[in-house]
Amino acid sequence: MAMLKTILGNLLRPSRTRAPADMPVVPPTYRGALTHDAGRCTACGTCAFVCAPKAIHFTQDPGISVSWHFFIGQCSFCGLCEQNCPTRAIHLRADVPGSTNSAGGDGLRLESVIHLQPCTRCGAAHVPLPAATMDALWAAGADEAERGYCPDCRRWAASARLRTAFTPDGAVAEGGRHDR
């Protein structure tokens, strides 16, 4: 009897095969193809660290650039790189499908180059901080000249400020450059 009811119900209902336009809404949390913003990346390597299938890796051109590489064929779309990226450089877009049928193709390898910049103080090539991070850090009124510093020089400048605070006569030796 249950089946008869089902058959009658089916006769009265429209087709249950979904038309192309009648697709379920793609949720905002959908993990589609990956994009990488070199302007935000600090090449910290967190994405490569959390990537279980090793779809992400970094290569270096010493003194010139660091390159971020991604191969979609190895990606499991877990989204951990996006979740763990401290500067939100990686984004899994909801508007593109995660899987494609030609995973070996060249178009499915992403590379983005992060150019190194010379430090304005010591000249060492380093990955600059993303502009948004810098704005947030320097909003507190730090010395604008420090924006171009490498991490070592920023550390030096911070400790110099600390020393100045303890010795108000300002006897900071300018020669105190860090060793490289």
């Binding site: 249950a2 009811k5 809404v25 949720p27 949390t29 660290f49 959390v50 279980a52 877990c78 989204g79």
Partner: protein, 359 residues
């Protein structure tokens, strides 16, 4: 004349490779031998070579159906070692995902079971319902299979609008109550193929140490959600479903009624979703030296995890015992004296998950 008949490893009824070698006399099965291990992947060893973040992604791929259970149990073990207390909201969200997963797993089984007895229209009905569950899971987690919801210390994604998922639950309860359960329990075709078939007595169930719906269909009232409540099961209240008959019909009924209980649990968890943080910790996890054993109720029964840490970047040992690993051998006593034609539905009634078993 007695003859032996190999069914599998490339299987006519199931998607995964496992082999049942049966000794038959005429149409009747005299004995059976089960062989597994055709899709071994060495996940336990691989887990020792991955860091604490990567290993969750790896463990989630132990099983294609109960993926969340594995990642969740592993995270619970790591949290126990590190002494991290799970936030209430995260526990509720994990419970919701675990129960949605049980729904889709049982519906998948009901579909496969219906197909094994040649009931294709029921298969279609069941899979239409299952699609509602998959859509809900996708809406919450962004993915249909490997949800990637768990991290050590909490969950990665929130359920911002719990009420939005209630209509799907209503449709599901309606479909289950009006079509799936009555068809499996009243339809003469379904009854003829399931009632009295593949009996496993209570004593045999104890002897073969079966777990989950198979044990509960043989009159053993064991369910980790009730015996040792974890996550939010103690808050939500949980009633296990037990049937004494021990045949395929009882396993069908236990799973069907469990689905109704899951719908109730999800509804209550969604309605009582407590506010608060999603994660107890921020950043990459640091797990001190220690060890933990955790049991959770996967859709197929008790999943057991032993995780040991030596304080390094990766776990020192991850031991996984999945419910199918103990349920699959119980096919041997079930098929004895049964017609060969019932072999397919009997082995399907255990709901064997081969990728869990082989790991």
């Amino acid at each position: 004349m007695p003859y032996s008949f190999p069914l599998g490893p490339y299987h006519p009824a199931l998607e995964e490779p496992f082999k049942v070698k049966v000794q038959c006399k005429g149409e009747v099965i005299e004995s059976a031998t089960v062989e597994v291990g055709f899709s071994y992947r060495g996940i336990e060893l691989l887990a020792q070579k991955r860091n604490w973040v990567e290993v969750i992604t790896l463990i989630e791929r132990v099983c294609g159906i109960c993926s969340n259970t594995h990642a969740m149990t592993f995270c619970l073990a790591a949290e126990t070692i590190a002494g991290i207390e799970l936030p209430k909201r995260a526990a509720h969200i994990r419970t919701i995902i675990a129960e949605l997963e049980r729904l889709h797993s049982h519906l998948l089984w009901a579909g496969v079971g219906a197909e094994d007895i040649g009931f294709h229209s029921l298969f279609m009905e069941v899979f239409t319902l299952r699609e509602r569950v998959m859509d809900t899971l996708e809406a919450i987690s962004g993915n249909r299979v490997n949800y990637g919801m768990n991290c050590i210390g909490g969950v990665l994604r929130d359920i911002p609008d719990p009420a939005a998922h209630l209509p799907a639950l209503d449709a599901l309860a309606k479909g289950l109550g009006e079509v799936v359960i009555p068809t499996f329990t009243q339809n003469p075709t379904a009854l003829a193929r399931t009632r009295g078939v593949g009996r496993l007595s209570r004593e045999q169930a104890v002897e073969w140490a079966v777990v989950g719906p198979v044990a509960r269909a043989s009159g053993l009232d064991i369910d980790v959600r009730k015996d040792q409540p974890y996550l939010s099961y103690a808050d939500l209240g949980f009633e296990s479903v037990v049937r004494p008959e021990g045949d395929v019909q009882a396993r069908v009924v236990v799973r069907a009624l469990e689905m109704m209980e899951s719908v109730r649990l999800i509804r209550e968890a969604l309605l009582s979703l407590p506010p608060g943080p999603l994660r107890a910790t921020q950043g990459l996890p640091e797990i001190p030296a220690g060890e933990a054993t955790i049991r959770t109720e996967a859709p197929r029964g008790e999943a057991f995890y032993y995780v040991a840490s030596e304080g390094g970047a990766s776990p020192a040992r991850v031991k996984i015992r999945t419910p199918s690993f103990v349920n699959i051998p119980a096919i041997e006593p079930m098929v004895m004296g049964q017609p060969l034609a019932d072999l397919s539905i009997i082995q399907a009634s255990v709901d064997p998950c081969i990728s869990c078993t082989d790991r």
